[in-house]
Point group: C2
Chain length 411, copies 2
Amino acid sequence: MPVLVMKFGGTSVATLDRIRRAAKRVGVEVAKGYDVIVIVSAMSGETNKLVGYVDETSPLYDAREYDAVVSSGENVTAGLMALTLQEMDVPARSWQGWQVPLMTNSAHASARIEEIPTDNINAKFGEGMKVAVVAGFQGISPEGRITTLGRGGSDTTAVAFAAAFDAERCDIYTDVDGVYTTDPRVCEKARKLDRISFEEMLELASLGAKVLQTRSVELAMRYKVKLRVLSSFEEQSDEAGTLVCDEEEIMESNVVAGVAYSRDEAKMTLVSVADRPGIAAAIFGPLAEAGVNVDMIVQNISEDGRTDMTFSCPTTEVARAEKAMNDLKENGELNFAEIITDADVAKVSVVGIGMRSAAGVAAKMFKVLSDDGVNIQVITTSEIKISVLVARKYMELAVQALHDAFELDKA
Amino acid sequence: MPVLVMKFGGTSVATLDRIRRAAKRVGVEVAKGYDVIVIVSAMSGETNKLVGYVDETSPLYDAREYDAVVSSGENVTAGLMALTLQEMDVPARSWQGWQVPLMTNSAHASARIEEIPTDNINAKFGEGMKVAVVAGFQGISPEGRITTLGRGGSDTTAVAFAAAFDAERCDIYTDVDGVYTTDPRVCEKARKLDRISFEEMLELASLGAKVLQTRSVELAMRYKVKLRVLSSFEEQSDEAGTLVCDEEEIMESNVVAGVAYSRDEAKMTLVSVADRPGIAAAIFGPLAEAGVNVDMIVQNISEDGRTDMTFSCPTTEVARAEKAMNDLKENGELNFAEIITDADVAKVSVVGIGMRSAAGVAAKMFKVLSDDGVNIQVITTSEIKISVLVARKYMELAVQALHDAFELDKA
């Protein structure tokens, strides 16, 4: 039987009624002849509640215990989904990560999937089971501890299962009906895209578009998994939603495909560090070890052999970063005058594979922002994206202005 | 190092503050030199919420999925307790049932513990860990599915760990300060007992006293585990609470030690079944298979080769019992005229090892109830207890009258 992977996010399984609605969608695909692997998130709000418990209990928590706690919401939904399907006479059972077992590395709280054995679930398909319901977001480490894959990790679980089982498609059911040119809550002219390339989706996801976890797109790109994002709240045809696919499958596209933003950025500056070879490694090595995801980096011009090093990271990691830097200073491994933290910035980015061949996108972006009086603090670029850090109060304005300037409301 | 097992019930870990309070108690025992195994329940209300989800999703649920769902609350508390202890600089980590692994049989929703390997946890104690926090109530079956031990199963987990690790004592922390002669909410004269024998506690627990799960007492009795029930809401000395111990360790006791009641009983009568050899097996075999816990049984006098068979079971199992009986009838395996269900009864019992040597306890009990106009519907007795089924409206009255008559308010 061909295999289909269907993933339901937190809002799609937020109540027993919604679980029933999702189960009906699964039933439709089973009726078409698919063996279905359903990946479920926790009921919406559950994981946040659990993360809140952990944060309140232990601000610098042991990530192994964090994982043990926050993975539990998915187990509940998996069991309830299996029961709901059984009630509809669809043979189903649930799997928790350790039962598959979905093997990951030991990077707790943001573990990477190493292996998904298929024997166990395939054997059950062979016995007549039609749906394997798998708790998303979780796995086990080589040490046998529970790991989680980072926020949004259920998307990655879904794509990894689609790759492992050579699924015909991986459908990501969520609370929006596809991928938009930007967040419709910030820009009302945002337009749904029928198709988007893996590369663009990857950039948009890593730049803050919350519709898919970055690593799920990476995986889909590497294993050529046909990925579809669609709404669990509407009747769906086979053409619904947005298909994330190879560049070649997209006929024509705008130079810029979308505008992304990330609200929860912080800018940190280490004032007056020695400007010597290896200084970047001395700073960013320990930050990586402390679990700080450094994004943009700027090094000032040197003066008297000293320089300022500025970087951005998620606001949630500021405490970690400050501790790591102060530890280095105490140990005498790094000298700096002070740390200046600005937790009041946001990142705005434009993304499009058309930028490879079209010149002037950056110039246009900077002019648009300048015309609206938005000061650019840090810039980074890649082949298909340009990102700027701006004061948070300008974030919505910047997104709307860029959406207009690049005419993203027009197909 | 000597090992101590400490179990914290749902109300004792209901909030992060209470978890901190419980962790402080654990810290006190660690400071005394114990290696501590902490067994935790789910935060109070969590398991009921999950059971509610399952019941609403699937009234005749697949017990394997039920177990997968309802076991998740304990995982949360175990992780949070480990984190709280770590914050207090007490080396701790959490274990879920499958990680120990706590092996059970496959009787989902009321599984029995088969084995608790100690190597894994002992190795960690050897490495300097002071507290192993274990999620109570759960284990895994030989098939690798999650099992649960039935409501109150964390008590059983605790006693089983105490037996497996040869613990000096098993302290059950709960929301009451010990075992009472009866439920203080029903009878204000109820008195806390300093000690109670395993046998009496076993009867009280199985007759409805909710302070300890029946099987935990059975296990404690078999493995001579010193079991103490005490409050997590009071400062505790080594003499606090109630010690459940061997009869020999109790100097003197009343003829009747306590009065128990169970509110959620139902009485079912199969009207006009054939009065033939094997009829009881034909009825109660299938009921057991359907997971119905039949308690009291009465068979009427036979008339024309037909008789009425009456039994009691928890009200929650009435639907299951009716289905099992109707299935038998449809299959032609059992003939009866109708099933009469009375879900409005309660069981009241008096318990005491003194009854072995004292005559007249039953007579006195029946007279007391009769004097208050309480009609007795079914009676069962054992060496140390007498139980009666009465209309539920008389339950409180019966408990109070018996508590007075046997002078349980006096030591």
